[in-house]
């Protein structure tokens, strides 16, 4: 009989205890973060989408070589001597036109290994993590600041420059050969045995 009342009282009092707990929680501030409008604070060394600051990139290709999944593709073109590409923010001189700098975020594994080798600290992790796409191709990010025509132009410039240099070189060599031939003729007049190895060299030069 006593057990009956003890049970009844326990039931009633525990309900009241439970109600006290829920009533207290009614006034506890909600822990909800209203996601699209309010974003959670990210940790300090978060690893999200990469960004490349092309003003600082010297095209050294070290990040591409560090990448374990080969998601970075870099192509560079030598600059012409008269072109001034400026300096990076930590004082390195830029010597290459970067004509291709693609990062495929569909492949990227967010390991951050590309960030450490960079000599100018121009590739780094940002806090952007919402970049889902409907098509996989859209995840291929192109970081180059040059326009497509400019990239072609740079390549053409280099080819032209190389051709010009080649031509100059060829001309110089021809001139040298002519001078040499002239000298040889002079020497022929003075009796002296011709050197066969020299002939070969001349042929090679031409």
């Amino acid at each position: 009989m006593i057990d009956y009342f003890v049970k009844f009282w326990q039931g009633l009092s525990t309900i009241l205890i439970g109600m006290k707990v829920t009533f207290r929680h009614l006034f506890v501030p909600a822990v909800t973060i209203q996601y699209p409008s309010v974003k959670p604070q990210m940790p300090e060394r978060e690893r999200n989408r990469l960004y490349v600051n092309m003003d600082d990139c010297i095209g050294c290709d070290q990040c591409a070589r560090a990448c374990p999944v080969n998601c970075i593709e870099i192509e560079t073109v030598k600059s012409l001597p008269e072109e001034d590409l400026g300096k990076t923010s930590n004082g390195k001189k830029k010597a290459l036109w970067v004509t291709k700098f693609n990062i495929d975020f569909a492949k990227c594994c967010y390991c951050q290994l590309c960030v450490f080798p960079c000599p100018t600290e121009c590739i780094y992790m940002t806090d952007v993590y919402e970049f889902s796409e409907f098509r996989r191709e859209n995840l291929l990010y192109d970081f180059v600041t040059l326009l497509p025509e400019e990239r072609e132009q740079k390549k053409k410039n280099l080819l032209e420059f190389q051709a010009k240099k080649e031509a100059e070189k060829a001309a110089a060599a021809k001139k040298a050969a002519e001078e040499k031939a002239a000298a040889a003729q002079k020497e022929k007049q003075e009796p002296k045995t011709p050197n066969p190895s020299e002939d070969k060299k001349e042929e090679n030069n031409q």
Binding site: F8, I15, V21, T22, F23, H25, A30, V31, T32, Q34
Partner: protein, 357 residues
Amino acid sequence: MMYDWLNNLIGSPILAMFIVSLLPLFIFILPFALLAVLAERKVSAHMQDRLGPMRVGYHGILQTVADIIKLLQKEDLVATATDKTLFNFAPLLVFIGSYAAFAVIPFSGFFIGSKIDLGIIFIVGVTGLVVAGILMAGWASNNKYSLLGAMRSAAQIISYEIPTLLIILTVIMLTGTLSLYDLSELQTAYFWNWLILGGPAIGIEKILLIPLMIMGCLIIYTSTLAEVNRTPFDIPEAESELVSGYHTEYSGMKFAMFFLAEYANMFAVSAIVSVIFFGGYQSPFGYLGNTLGLPWLIPIEQFFWFTAKGLFFVFVQMWLRWTLPRFRVDQLMAFCWKYLIPISFVILLLVGLITLI
């Protein structure tokens, strides 16, 4: 009275009666259901340290309006194996049952749908229609979950009507009236006249009655909570066991009818508790209208107090819902038959002895 006033104003008894009978629905049940569904979601969310609906309107206040628009647009699905007639009629019957109870609920001294002498018995009787409707819905759905939910609901409501009626009997014995209007008028003006504090009588019996009345209030509150199938007693719709019980097969506005009936029932039950034990529409601190000499203010005040008390008990129902887990079926029956019914018999007996003093 509202009816006489409208009859004088319009001059047509039929039109006046029509308006009076529709008033609770349009000025009370629909806005209340809109508000209560939102409040339920907000209360539950804040009790669990969440925010609840936040998108539609300021802090989600238009969420239920959006939900109703969604429900109106929904296709009214009726499965081929259902008993069409019963299936379509069941939500109506459930709603009629819970709406009919509002006919005798005294919103204020000025506005009672019908001032019949058997008010409280009428409510108990007419809410029996809800059980019929629920059973009908469960049977006509031709779905095992629906039928199980309906059977559980019937068993539960029939069991829990016994303690409810015993406590109502106790109060009837004490006050000698069945009319909800008379019951409210009895506990007039100040809170020490409320039946939970022993009623208007003064003397030794008032002190003796207080603990019994508090127990009685707790019992009637729990058993009516069980009658409206709210959470510690929600085994008829138990989401985790029975999908959603008797309204599993319903969609669109028919589902909304069940929902509306549930919330209307919640308020009806809270109103009964407040009329029986907490003075109904009577103000706990006397009337401002009497003090200022403005007799027209009194009905408005009474309406305010009645609504406030009703909403408070509805809030407690929500509070309990988000505090307590669901009973098992055997626990539910044991709680009713082993605890509530014996204790209410003891209360009935003791109150009977006290009234003899």
